[in-house]
């Protein structure tokens, strides 16, 4: 088990180098001069521009820039962004916010998705099942940004149940509305996955055995059906967490959440290579850890899956 985890963690290194190199190169290849972009129509004295340029090594060739970035990374110094703010500090500000948003969205989709999915699966073809299927189809069909704007308008402006945007000092409460929007689409997928999986396992031999043994219905559903049905759902949720942490750029944009998505969007607008690559680096780690967790959950859900050979 330990060996398996170590092996998985070692795989991070090539992935990490590959992604950062790619992203760094893409930013490097962006047209326009990021330093000039800091200033509007009013350009500062040339000395200011040139000093900033050499300060951020923008006058160096690509490999030197990338090398310096890696060197900084290994000394745990992410440096400053072009406005002179330490990148590490801004990451420390945005990641917790997005983590809260992602966890909230994940909780919503997991709890509601699995619950609804189980009910629909157990009573396949019933009224609940049909309704839920139609509703989930609608949810999947409507783009996130439409949902976001509609929710914002209805709950934020017209009903006044929540603030239309999040802004500073994000907390669990203020993040609920964007989390619902963010979680809705995946909620529909989780629901459908669970439903299919449950209804498939309903007729399995071991379920009949469990029922025949005289186990109570909830026990059968939870210990036997659900546990076996959750494998595809867990896979999906794990992959989803990485995506959610990647900063739901659209949702964060609509609700003005000061999180990773917004930061990334701003950094791309300003061609801030160091900021973009730092964010991507953290995201790579998040993805890897999320996938690792999913794999470990498999083993717990299904003892037949083992990793220590």
């Amino acid at each position: 088990m330990v060996r398996f985890i170590l092996k998985r963690l070692l795989q991070v290194i090539p992935v990490f180098i590959g992604t950062t190199l790619l992203v760094y190169y893409m930013v490097f290849a962006l047209p326009g001069d990021p330093i000039a972009a800091l200033f509007g129509d009013r350009q500062p004295p040339q000395a200011v521009i040139d000093t900033l340029r050499s300060q951020y090594h923008l006058d160096e060739p690509f490999w030197v820039q990338y090398g310096l970035f890696l060197q900084n990374l290994f000394t745990f110094n992410l440096g400053n962004d072009f406005t002179g703010q330490p990148i590490a500090a801004s990451l420390a500000r945005v990641f917790p916010v997005t983590a809260m948003l992602a966890v909230e969205a994940l909780a919503i989709q997991a709890i509601f998705g699995v619950a609804f999915g189980v009910f629909a699966g157990l009573r396949r073809g019933g009224w609940f099942d049909s309704t839920v299927l139609v509703v989930s189809l609608v949810v999947i069909a409507v783009p996130t940004f439409v949902l976001g704007f509609v929710f914002q308008l209805v709950f934020g402006v017209q009903l006044g149940w929540a603030k239309p945007t999040v802004g500073a000092n994000a907390d669990w409460g203020s993040l609920l509305l964007p989390a619902v929007v963010l979680g809705l689409v995946s909620f529909a997928y989780v629901l459908r996955l669970t439903r299919a999986s449950v209804s498939e396992n309903m007729n399995a031999d071991y379920v009949r055995t469990a029922t025949a043994k005289g186990l109570s219905r909830p026990r059968v559903v939870i210990a036997h059906i659900l546990r076996n049905s959750l494998i595809p759902v867990v896979t999906y949720l794990g992959a989803n967490l990485g995506g959610l942490m990647g900063g739901a750029i659209v949702t964060e944009g609509i609700f003005n959440v000061p999180g990773v998505g917004n930061k990334l969007y701003q950094a791309v607008l300003r061609s801030e290579g160091p900021t973009i690559v730092s964010i991507v680096s953290v995201l790579v780690l998040v993805f890897v850890v999320a996938n690792l967790l999913v794999d470990l959950l498999y083993a717990w859900l299904d003892p037949r899956i083992r990793y220590d050979q």
Binding site: G40, R93, V94, P258, Q266
Partner: protein, 561 residues
Amino acid sequence: MRFTRTSKALGMVAIAALALTGCGAGGGSNDGASQSAGDPNKVITAYSNEPQNPLLPANTNEVYGGRVVELLFEGLRSYDADGKPVNSLAESIESTDAQNWTIKVKQGQTFTNGEAITAKTFVDSWNFAANSKNLQNNGFFFESIAGYADVSAVTTETAADGKTTTTPAPTAETMSGLTATDDSTLTVKLAQPEADWSLRLGYSAFFPLPSAALADPKAFGENPVGNGPYKFEKTGSWVHDQSISLVKNADYSGPRESKNGGVTFKFYTDPGPAYTDLQGNNLDVTDVLPSNALKTYVTDFQDRNATKPVATDSTLNIPGYNPNFQGEAGKLRRQALSYAINREEIAKVVFNGTRTPAKAFAPPVIDGFKADLKGSEVLKFDAAKAKELWAQAEKIKPYDGSKPLQIASNTDGGNKEWIDAVANGFKNNLGIQAEIQPFAKFAEVLNLRKSQSLPGLSRAGWQGDYPSLYNFLGPVWATGASSNYEKYSNPAFDKLLQEGLAAKTTDEANAKFNQAQEILFEDLPGLPLWDQAKPIVWSENVVKAETGWNGGILYYNITAK
């Protein structure tokens, strides 16, 4: 049976979730307690975004930092809502020859940390700002003061590959023309006479700085200490990428007395959510509207919107290095292009009245503005005249139409629509191919303008730094000026500018500047397009809001309900 019970439980969860949302919405958007009179102690919230530099006045040259700095500091003068300069920290500003100025500084004024403001404060602050070593973005605002050349000196090295690098190399630490004879007297000697010099003194570059700022500019810029109508609520009030909280400075006694308890600038990466926030009364005032709201803001915010002309103009620049627009034929073609733009219609249809057709090379709100200058008839739409001039030019030198005429612009911020309209005007009225040359970012266009490699025209805009005609002419069209990227140069024009600056009175100066504009109408290095009006909207939490001469909201004048 069990099924129903569980669905009940589910229902409970859903209700709990909604209740939670209710909790999250706490924060009195609808208190219902509407006070008729304003509440002078309530804090208002305003739209903004992350400032791009540490908050040092002489370093801040973008709007989001600028609005904060202007509330934190008070200069020798400030501008009232109409752009008229009034003395603030200056008791008097006098000069007999427009070259030697004597400024009496009000006594007993202090920064919020208790440090006294004297004439020496200004000498130190200005020398700091002008010194090239300190890399202040607005350093060149001191260029008229004698000795500026020494403190702002740079060396330029050319590498083997032809790349030049400019590094600061000041040859003096202080400007020779700047002296404090005693605590209350500041004498300034300019390198040459400049009639409108005292108009600049309300601009942020000229604000005074406490000694802490000069000792450690970077740390100071994080938590600035000023002398303006507002101060930082506490150390660390600038939460990066989120907000800046200012509270009223009770010790302030200048012309911009605050009518509210403070201003919290909330940062938005996009104006769209801010607009929604305003509709939900979750934000009190914004000066940036999403482009899709330009058609609806008047109906969305009945009695809670205002649109006032501001000192910002737009031009379409025609590079002199483009062979199609050189010489006599080029001159005729420039005029033809100008006649082919239907400014009235575009201002009405595309901009919904938030622009007015240009009348000159400066906006009408600026003191000394004159309409109907000689040559300004090219700003009227006249398809027949455009065709005729184009045909005349063809006789002299045929137009190279192998490539369409391109108009370079960044496509964000609603620029594409009007450029398409202008390009269609060229197509229909001149029979040439024209199209937008799209760029993702403003900086890309700027770089190409700087390196003189644009194939066609480009869009440019200028927002006044201080309310003076010269500010719309000198920095943009004078030979070698800081923002004259197309390198337009006309000695006669430069001479008139210099004469205007050397004039004894502002009226005399403005007459010269208007004469200089007639030369611009002759040469047409750029086509004036329109002047901006600034639409703003406010929430039900505040009585009303208004903008000043430069389009900035007068935050200190807003009263909360």
